[in-house]
């Protein structure tokens, strides 16, 4: 069964450093998303991506964040200068038009720890 994959599973970085979180969505999906979940809190939407551009972003997704689909298979989230409060689980999700644009399949997540 196709699945969304994410690497790395756990990333530890120092405050102020740049990190890139990687995702490989399900191959025939067209819509891509990033969410984050601070420990013990609910999952929050960051950004959606369709047709090689951002379609929507939340207020959390400020200038420190960027997304890219560099090669037609990977989907990346970059945090330019990490802050302590960026420590969270980051989930990538994808959905396909034939499933209904809203049915999203999540990857296993990347746990980001900023020290």
């Amino acid at each position: 069964e196709p699945e969304v994959t994410q690497t790395p599973s756990h990333q530890v970085t120092q405050m102020g450093q740049e990190v890139i979180l990687r995702c490989v969505p399900i191959s025939n999906h067209l819509y891509f998303y990033w969410y984050r979940q601070i420990l013990g809190q609910k999952v929050e939407f960051l950004v959606s991506f369709y047709n090689n551009e951002i379609s929507e972003k939340s207020e959390i997704f400020d200038d420190q964040f960027s997304v890219e689909r560099p090669d037609g298979s990977n989907f990346t989230l970059k945090i330019r200068s990490t802050k302590l409060e960026d420590s969270a689980m980051y989930f990538c999700a994808s959905s396909g038009r034939d499933l209904g644009a809203y049915e999203q399949y999540f990857g296993p997540g990347t746990r980001l720890t900023v020290t």
């Binding site: 939407f45 689980m89 209904g100 049915e103 999540f106 296993p108």
Partner: protein, 113 residues
């Protein structure tokens, strides 16, 4: 604004019994989707069940079913014949107008043997 509210932070059920998790939502959209996701300790988000708002029939997936009350904006999840593996956080989610999901705060379900 679209919101999702789960009023039960924690629930407990005896193995083989039935439990219902509550969810209410608010949206001005006429066409939308509702979901229940399961998050075990591994923190993977697993889609449990999906409901299209335009369908009156309640969705069912094996032991999981929903009670969708559109007028009341209520979307509860019923788990029948509960199993130890059902223990997890359960998140109710609303499909937003741009396709993003809006999640509730979750309900932690414990299953007692």
């Amino acid at each position: 604004a679209q919101t999702v509210t789960q009023s039960q932070p924690e629930m407990s059920v005896q193995e083989a019994e039935t439990v219902t998790l509550s969810c209410t939502y608010d949206t001005s959209e006429s066409d939308y989707y509702l979901f229940w996701y399961k998050q075990p300790p591994s923190r993977q988000m697993i889609l449990v069940i999906r409901q299209e708002a335009y369908k009156q029939q309640n969705a069912t997936e094996n032991r999981f079913s929903v009670n969708f009350q559109k007028a009341a904006k209520s979307f509860s999840l019923k788990i029948s014949d509960s199993q130890l593996g059902d223990a997890a956080m359960y998140f109710c989610a609303l499909g937003g107008s741009q396709g993003n999901l809006i999640f509730g705060k979750g309900t932690k379900l414990s299953v007692k043997p």
